[in-house]
C-alpha cells in the first residue's frame, strides 16, 4: 500500500474536505488520538432540539483520517448524538476503500465521535 493509492472518495475529501474547521459558540466537542502518534481528530457539533444542525472537524493525520473525519462530520447532520451506530468503522473502511492496516485510524475517528456522544449524554441538551 502506497501513499498514492487513495480511492477517489478519499482524494476528493482530501482536496475539498467538507466541514473542515471550528464552530464557535455553544457546541459539543469530542476529540481522540495524539499528534505524536500520528492521528488527532476533533469534532464540534452544534445541536438544535437534540439533533446535529452543524458540524466541523479538525484532523492531524493521513488522507484517510481527513476523509473519514470529513465523512463523519457531514453525515452527523440531522442525527441524534446518542446513537452513533451509523458510524461503523468497517463499513466506512469499505466505503472509502481504506486498507486494512489503516483501520486503526478509523477507530480514532470513531473514538472522537464517541467522545462527543459521551459529552452529549451528560449535557442538558439531551
Amino acid at each position: 500500500m502506497d501513499s498514492l493509492d487513495y480511492s477517489q472518495q478519499v482524494r476528493d475529501r482530501f482536496e475539498r474536505p467538507a466541514n473542515a474547521g471550528r464552530l464557535l459558540g455553544p457546541v459539543i466537542s469530542g476529540a481522540a488520538g495524539e499528534e505524536g502518534l500520528g492521528t488527532r481528530v476533533e469534532f464540534d457539533f452544534r445541536l438544535r432540539s437534540g439533533t446535529v444542525e452543524e458540524s466541523a472537524f479538525r484532523v492531524y493525520g493521513c488522507p484517510h483520517a481527513i476523509a473519514a473525519a470529513s465523512w463523519v462530520a457531514e453525515n452527523a447532520r440531522d442525527r441524534r448524538l446518542d446513537d452513533t451506530s451509523w458510524m461503523d468503522p468497517l463499513r466506512l473502511a469499505a466505503l472509502l476503500e481504506v486498507p486494512e492496516h489503516k483501520l486503526g485510524v478509523l477507530l480514532v475517528v470513531q473514538d472522537a465521535l464517541e467522545a462527543a456522544a459521551a459529552k452529549f449524554d451528560q449535557s442538558e441538551d439531551r
Binding site: 500520528g38 484532523v59 492531524y60
Partner: protein, 399 residues
C-alpha cells in the same frame, strides 16, 4: 489527476535522468551498427573494439577519483560495490580479525550487508554520527580494536546530503593499518575526491546518481598494497577474478561519459545548485516550523532535507504530489517506518515522518524552484489549517 509531465522532479538523489550526451554514446554500443560485441571476445577485432571502449571508460572513472585504471572494478551498481567491499574484505581477512566499524546513517546497502556479516559471526560497531549527521575521526578512533579489519563510512549521506570528513578518518585508518571503505555514490562527481589524499582503500560509485545509466557501478580497490577481496560473483574470471559476468559495454561507456562530464562541470554545477538550493530554502523557511535536517554547512548542495512541523507526513507527501520528492519515511511497508537516518540525527518519529527530501540537479530551473516553493507554501498552510492546533513556528535546526 496530475499528469506526469507536469510534475517537478526534485528527486535527483534517488536517481538522475541520463544526460543526452551520455545516452547518445550508449546508443553507439548497442545495435549492430555499433560496438556491440562482447568485450571478452578477444579472438576478434569486434570484441577488441568493445574492450577498448570499456578501458577508456575505466580511465574516466579512475580520473575522477584520482585512482589508476587498474584499480577500478565494474559492478552492477553501488549496492553491489558496497556488498563486494564489505563481504569481500570480511571474507578475505577473517583470519586477521572479525570486527568492522560503520555508522547508523549508512545506506541500506552497507547497513544490511553489515547485518548479514553479523549473522555470519562478525562483530560490527554502528556509530551514531556525533556532529549533526557527521561521523568524526574521533568517533571512529574510540571504536578501533586490535581485531578491526574494516571501517566503512559514507562520503555524502543520501537522505540529508551531510558530508563527513573522510580524509581525517582515512588518515586514522591508514595509521592504524586498517582498511577504509567509502560509499561515494552520492558524492562522486559532486565533490572533489582523491583516493590518495583521502587515504581510501575501497570506494563505491554508481552511474545513475550522476546522469549515467542505472545498473552500472564501480568499486575502487587500492592496488598497493594489494587489497585482497573474496569475490561475490564467480564465473569467467572477468575483472581480474573479482567480478565475473559479461561486461555491459553500453552501460560502462555511459558511466564513463557521465563521469567525464561531471569532472568538467563540477565547479559551475556546484555553484548553480548552491544558488538554487539557497533560493528554495529561503522560500520554504519563511513558512515557519520548517527545520533543516543535518549539518548546515558540511553538505552537498543538491539535497535539502527538512522536517515540517504541524503536518502529518503521509498527507504532506500526498499534498505535494505535483513534486517528485522522497519522504522521511519508507513507504515500502504497510507500517510507515520513520527514516532511521533522521532518527539517528535525534529527530522524533513524528518529525521524521513529516520530513521531505528535496533534491535538485542538472536540469532544475529557477522557475521550478519558485513553483515548488509556492506549492509547498500553499499545501502546508492548507494542512496546518485543517489541524487541531496552530503549529509551533520556531525554525530550529536538527543536529
Amino acid at each position: 489527476m496530475i499528469c506526469s509531465k507536469d510534475i517537478i522532479y526534485m528527486d535527483y538523489a534517488a536517481t538522475t535522468p541520463v544526460d543526452d550526451r551520455v545516452a547518445r554514446l550508449m546508443c553507439e554500443c548497442m545495435t549492430r551498427e555499433g560496438v556491440f560485441a562482447n568485450p571478452a571476445s578477444r579472438s576478434h577485432q569486434l570484441g577488441r573494439d568493445a574492450q577498448g571502449r570499456v578501458e577508456m571508460a575505466r580511465h574516466e572513472i579512475a580520473s575522477l577519483l584520482g585512482a589508476s585504471q587498474t584499480e577500478i572494478i565494474w559492478t552492477s551498481g553501488a549496492t553491489e560495490s558496497d556488498n563486494l567491499a564489505l563481504k569481500g574484505v570480511a571474507h578475505s581477512l577473517q583470519d586477521q580479525g572479525r570486527h568492522l566499524i560503520t555508522s547508523k546513517t549508512e545506506h541500506k546497502a552497507v547497513l544490511d550487508t553489515a547485518r548479514q556479516l553479523e549473522r555470519e559471526g562478525f562483530d560490527v560497531s554502528f556509530l551514531i554520527p556525533a556532529d549533526q549527521g557527521r561521523v568524526t575521526a574521533e568517533q571512529v578512533a574510540a571504536e578501533l580494536r586490535d581485531d578491526t579489519i574494516l571501517v566503512s563510512i559514507m562520503h555524502a549521506n543520501n537522505e540529508t546530503g551531510v558530508v563527513s570528513d573522510i580524509a581525517s578518518i582515512g588518515k586514522l585508518c591508514r595509521e592504524r593499518g586498517i582498511l577504509f571503505h567509502v560509499d561515494a555514490a552520492q558524492s562522486a562527481g559532486k565533490l572533489p575526491i582523491d583516493v590518495e589524499e583521502m587515504c581510501v582503500d575501497l570506494l563505491s560509485v554508481s552511474g545513475h546518481k550522476i546522469y549515467g545509466p542505472k545498473g552500472i557501478g564501480a568499486l575502487y580497490v587500492r592496488s598497493c598494497p594489494a587489497t585482497r577481496l573474496e569475490p561475490l560473483i564467480h564465473g569467467g574470471g572477468h575483472e581480474r577474478g573479482m567480478r565475473s559476468g559479461t561486461l555491459p559495454t553500453h552501460q560502462i561507456v555511459g558511466m564513463g561519459e557521465a563521469f567525464r562530464l561531471a569532472r568538467h562541470q563540477m565547479e559551475p554545477e556546484t555553484h548553480k545548485l548552491t544558488g538554487l538550493r539557497d533560493r528554495f530554502w529561503a522560500g520554504i523557511s519563511k513558512l515557519g516550523g520548517v527545520l533543516l535536517n543535518g549539518h548546515r554547512d558540511a553538505r552537498i548542495p543538491g539535497i535539502l532535507n527538512v522536517s515540517i512541523e504541524g503536518v502529518e507526513g503521509e498527507s504532506l507527501l500526498f499534498a505535494l504530489r505535483e513534486l517528485a520528492v522522497s519522504s522521511g519515511s519508507a513507504c515500502t511497508s504497510a507500517s510507515r517506518e520513520a527514516s532511521y537516518v533522521l532518527r539517528a540525527l535525534g529527530r522524533s518519529d513524528q518529525l521524521a515522518q513529516s520530513s521531505i527530501r528535496f533534491s535538485i540537479g542538472r536540469y532544475t530551473t529557477e522557475d521550478e524552484i519558485d513553483r515548488a516553493v509556492a506549492i509547498v507554501a500553499e499545501q502546508v498552510h492548507r494542512l496546518r489549517g485543517l489541524a487541531p492546533k496552530t503549529p509551533v513556528t520556531s525554525d530550529r535546526e536538527a543536529g
